[in-house]
Symmetry: C2
Subunit: 136 residues, 2 copies
DNA sequence: CTTTTAGTGCAACTCGATTGCAAAGATTAT
DNA sequence: ATAATCTTTGCAATCGAGTTGCACTAAAAG
């Protein structure tokens, strides 16, 4: 597991206090986090600073964003080696009970045969239901 | 192709002026429509009336909604026989150039093997890229 | 015809996302 | 080291999609 500092260095993003704590928080969570989640966890950091940090991280392929249909964009640290390319596709699972979003890295996404002349850039595949903890 | 009146009758939704024009508009488009799209097309119909109409349609399985990551929920008429069940899954294609959303009925969605004890309820699978018209 | 229920239009409001701006901090040039 | 420049941060304000309260109208039931 890389440290925050290593990741920022590798991705050529300047290290700052806000960036370090935001990235650390994301690394410590096993679920994708919304801006609000992060804001609540980091009580003394401004929302817009976190927002801009997330944009920076996304541009530099440190994290990827997920639209899970909950109304809030969520963010998760890319797996090592992820380029956020169509090749790196994975499903997400959104639990409609606890509102958590999981990255399903183990569930393979089949090759997408798009209609003629359509060009794939990225994908956002969200499966909804109940997670193991809520399905009792 | 069924008429608006037939669809409403089959789905046991009372026919009104707003419902007829909204459904007609959706039937006439080959792309999924946002609330704003519909509002713009139907200049003299109130947004909240359209909104409530869409909710009614969705509850009664006349249309399904799509979160395509554009920030606006889009709506499309269900294919005949669609129950909006996990079984009726299909991919959506969102063109990042023209912002249109297509239903890819012909692209099969594989059986989803979720982690142990996860329960599938529905899915929202959006592929982004360039549509045939914009990929030139 | 009267009563009740459902649908509509308007305005206001919610809330996540985003931006303008000035202060603080870091970097580069002198 | 100091001044000039660029970047990051915090605060407040704004935006826009979605949603709701409420009064009015239309439709259905009695």
């Amino acid at each position: 597991m890389q440290t925050e500092e290593e990741i920022l260095k590798i991705k050529k993003v300047k290290n700052t206090a806000v960036r370090t704590v935001v990235l650390r928080h994301l690394l410590n969570q096993e679920k994708a986090q919304s801006l609000k989640d992060i804001e609540n966890a980091l009580a003394y950091t401004d929302r817009s600073s976190i927002f801009r940090t997330l944009k920076t991280f996304e541009e530099n392929k440190i994290i990827h964003s997920i639209e899970d249909g909950s109304g809030m964009t969520k963010y998760a640290v890319c797996a090592e080696g992820c380029n956020c390319d169509p090749k790196d596709l994975h499903y997400h699972f959104y639990c409609s009970n606890c509102n958590k979003t999981f990255c399903l890295f183990d569930l393979p996404v089949p090759k997408l045969e798009l209609p003629k002349n359509f060009k794939l850039q990225q994908a956002n595949m969200v499966v909804k239901g109940l997670c193991d903890n809520c399905n009792k």
